[in-house]
Amino acid sequence: MLLSLCIALPALTAILLLFIPREQEQAARWLALAGTSATFIATLAVFAAFAPGEGAFQLVERISWIPSIGAEWHLGVDGISLFLVLLTSLLSVLCILGSWTNIRERIKEFHFFFLLLETGMIGVFLALDLFVFYVMWEVMLVPMFFLIGVWGGPRRVYATIKFFLFTMAGSVLMLVGILYVYFHTTDPATGLHTFNLLLATEQSQFPLAVQTWLFLAFAVAFAIKVPLFPFHTWLPDAHTEAPTAGSVILAGVLLKMGTYGFLRFCLPMFPGATVKFVPLISILAIVGILYGALMAMVQKDVKRLVAYSSVAHLGFVMLGTFALNLEGLSGSLLQQINHGISTGALFFLVGVIYDRRHTRMVGDYGGIAKVMPVYATLFMIIALSSVGLPGLNGFVGEFLILLGTFAYNSTYAVFGTAGIILAAVYLMWMYQRVFFGEIKHEENLKLKDVTPREALIIGVLVVLAIWIGVYPDPFLSRMQPSLELVLTRFQETGLSQVIVP
């Protein structure tokens, strides 16, 4: 029942929150913190119970839900979802802490939606039933819609509607795909159609033409979420307008649902079509890497800069996934976690100065390293981890991705490397303009350095960044067996030799 508990805890806390009187703002915050912390502890228990070295799903739970259509409450965790779940629950705790002082109105409602969102996110990663997966996927939309639309910046309504419509348009196509797969999957135990993901993967022997359509139906939904160029246009708006916690979750977790979807559904279920789409997606990924980096370079708003850097980073993740070899896949999965840590932390960091000055424009700062030394240090470490400095997390992920990419197409790898250089350019350039030089604005002279609460939030992420950078083995050793299972799908279908030289 451990996995169900991870999903239920935030939802139950959200319901409890409804009974707290409106004026008890502090109580609402503490309750939300307690709920997310309990969820985090539950996911740690999952981690403890997880047997490394095994690729198959573990801690599987299976309860009949809607028997007449063969939908089951079917959960499980493997090396692919394990760390994404941990990342979600950790970032959620940090987000509640991070919103402690900067969410000042409708506090109860904010936490209510945030907790619902957490339920949806964990549910997406744990679902082994296509129906449950789709429900969770859609369930997340609503709280995110409110989080951006009610607590966001000045253009929040535009951003939130755009976010909602883009995601919804993608997911309805996926629903048709899911239904098609459903009607071609039979549960041997009952003889009825089933949404069971394991059976669906096992029985998916579609002709290539059908695979292509199905791949596209799923891929559009995932590509929008990733977001893969050219489906990315909702992202800078949503990121910029969302409150800090929203941006952190958006970058840290929601984008991963797209890349996770590719890994979990597209690759294993439609291997033939996957191979066919490798060039197209790789090229789009590279375009995303370069485009995201170039756009980031010209941003005047730090938050928008970080948002565009996400487009570039997720391009890397996609490139690694579609290298279709173990190095690429594990690099890409690790990079998903890294991006959650580094970009999550960057959004927190941007939030820190925004709370103090209510501006995020690069031009409004300069020289603040003098007044905020601790902040400047933390920012530096995170920026370097995002750039991919050896010894920090980003390096390991990017290195593996490039290794995997190089193994099947060296040209792609060269373009990818260019993206890393560009990342260094825009982040370091921004860092220099914000932190170094003379203090030009008088208001900045009195800026307070990070509070212990803020230092704690970012400190946790810094520790993780260093840990993964120095000793990634605990992560990789748990991921790789499951990734190997994904790759066996390609060997079974006789495709692997096409890709792996």
Binding site: S68, V142, V150, T160, L165, V176
Partner: protein, 479 residues
């Protein structure tokens, strides 16, 4: 010599109870004059409807036909009779407040409403085309009166008039179609028609014309594009409680009749009409949605969106399997609850009769009036088709039936349409929660009204999360 057995009479007990209620209402209204019995009519109506619902449930599971094959007594009709009783009850619960607000004190309102429900029940029970026509006309005449009920309001009067003319027109089509079909088959019974067609029919102009005219008649009644043009004006002009009622109950009755006639009796001749219905479905959902996008009044938006929903329901008719029929029935039940609920909320919010249900009236309602905000959001999200609501499951189920039958393009078009619909439903939520009201928003909320809203939104959530029970009931009832 035809004899009527006690079994026959028992089978039409729910309908008889309604007629009794209508008579009681007329008597009570006579006695009421000069006394201070304001609440008596709605109370009698609710008691009558609940009794009727209970009788429909009590009748459940008999199966077969009575009155020599003229009237169905199957679970399907019991299910819809129960649903109509619920729709009727909710409409009555929402009505007194609205009638008071609009100073409509004509007591005939409840009588006519009950008669409309009676007509709907006859429609779903009909086992031959003439009984169907009888039910349809009873329902329609009652609706013409209801639509024009606010006599002194020009829009309402126009609505009643337009509905009358268009309704008469479509009844003409229907009757003509019935006549032609009778000429070919020699019977108006669904069973005989089905038998005749499955024995290998001869393709003749009479048969084709009969089916075509029947289809046009139904399309008018269901407000399917391109026979929809009367409905937005009628919906817009009618008193809002009536609009809520019209867009749910009578629509459901028309769809059940469509399923019985086209989905079952005319099924063997489906090559003749399937393509036409497919196009009706595509046009209906697309046109309804696109026009709904551009509305400035919430009431009109809901009216057009109701056309779009008719399109989704037609997808179920096209799919034509048992599962599709269960799906359509589930969708109709879910739609009735969420649409009635949404209308009920806008009735409360829009207190000034002159503002015409402008979107702007919704500003800031969400946080100012949590019960209205939350229930409205549930209804809208359900109409959009977001899980875990009844609307999501209804859509999923209808479209899955279509995918199973290989109508994948139809499913894709339908689902893309729901993404379009998300835009205008969301607009309401955006206004409720993400914009500031002009001045204080005070909304009077009678307790029973609020209770009805909360209960319906909870049901929308519950049958969305746990659809199995309802599905099982419908599957047992499936014709």
């Amino acid at each position: 010599m035809t004899t009527v057995s006690s079994q026959d009479l028992l089978a039409i007990l729910p309908e008889s109870l309604l007629v009794l209620t209508a008579i009681l209402l007329i008597v009570a209204d006579g006695l009421r004059r000069g006394r201070n019995w304001t609440g008596v009519l709605p109370v009698i109506s609710v008691i009558g409807l609940v009794a009727c619902g209970a009788a429909a449930i009590g009748n459940w599971g008999q199966g077969g036909t009575v009155f020599e094959g003229a009237v169905f007594t199957d679970g399907f009709s019991s299910f819809f009779a129960t649903l109509f009783a619920i729709i009727g009850t909710l409409t009555v619960l929402f009505s007194p407040h609205y009638l008071k607000m609009r100073s409509m004190r004509l007591s005939e309102y409840y009588v006519v409403l009950i008669l409309a429900v009676f007509g709907m029940m006859v429609m779903v029970k009909a086992a031959n085309l003439l009984i169907l026509f009888l039910g349809l006309e009873t329902m329609s005449v009652a609706l013409y009166v209801l639509a024009g009920f606010q006599r002194r309001d020009v829009k309402s009067a126009e609505s009643g008039m337009k509905y009358l003319v268009m309704g008469a027109f479509s009844s003409g089509f229907l009757l003509y179609g019935i006549a032609l079909l009778y000429a070919v088959v020699g019977s108006v019974s669904y069973a005989d028609i089905g038998e005749y067609l499955s024995a290998g029919y001869k393709l003749g102009p009479m048969l084709v014309a009969g089916i075509a005219l029947l289809l046009v008649g139904f399309a008018f009644k269901c407000a399917a594009v391109p026979f929809h043009f009367w409905s937005p004006d009628v919906y817009d002009g009618a008193p809002t409680t009536v609009t809520a009622f019209m867009s749910t109950g009578p629509k459901a009755a028309a769809f059940v009749a469509l399923i019985r006639v086209f989905g079952i009796a005319l099924e063997p001749a489906s090559p003749l009409w399937a393509t036409a219905v497919t196009w009706l479905a595509i046009l209906t959902m697309t046109v309804g949605n696109v026009i709904a996008l551009r509305q400035t009044s919430v009431k009109r938006m809901l009216a057009y969106s109701s056309i779009a929903h008719a399109g989704y329901l037609l997808v179920g008719v096209v799919a034509g399997t048992d599962a599709a029929r269960v799906a359509t029935a589930y969708y109709l039940a879910a739609y009735a609850l969420m649409n009635l609920g949404a209308f009920a909320v806008i009735i409360l919010i829009n207190r000034r009769s002159d503002s015409g249900y402008a979107f702007d009236d919704l500003r800031g309602i969400g946080f100012a009036h949590p019960v209205l905000g939350i229930t409205m959001s549930v209804f809208l999200l359900s109409l959009t088709g977001i899980p875990p609501t009844a609307g999501f499951f209804g859509k999923l189920y209808v479209f899955s039936a279509a995918v199973q039958q290989g109508h994948i393009a139809l499913a894709v078009i339908g689902l893309l349409n729901s993404a379009v619909a998300a835009y205008y439903y969301l607009r309401v939520i955006v206004l409720m929660y993400m914009s500031r009201p002009e001045g204080d928003v005070v909304v009077e909320q009678p307790g029973i009204y609020r209770a009805a809203l909360v209960v319906s939104s909870l049901i929308v959530l519950l049958i969305g999360m746990f659809p199995e029970q309802l599905l099982r009931v419908i599957a047992l009832a499936s014709p």
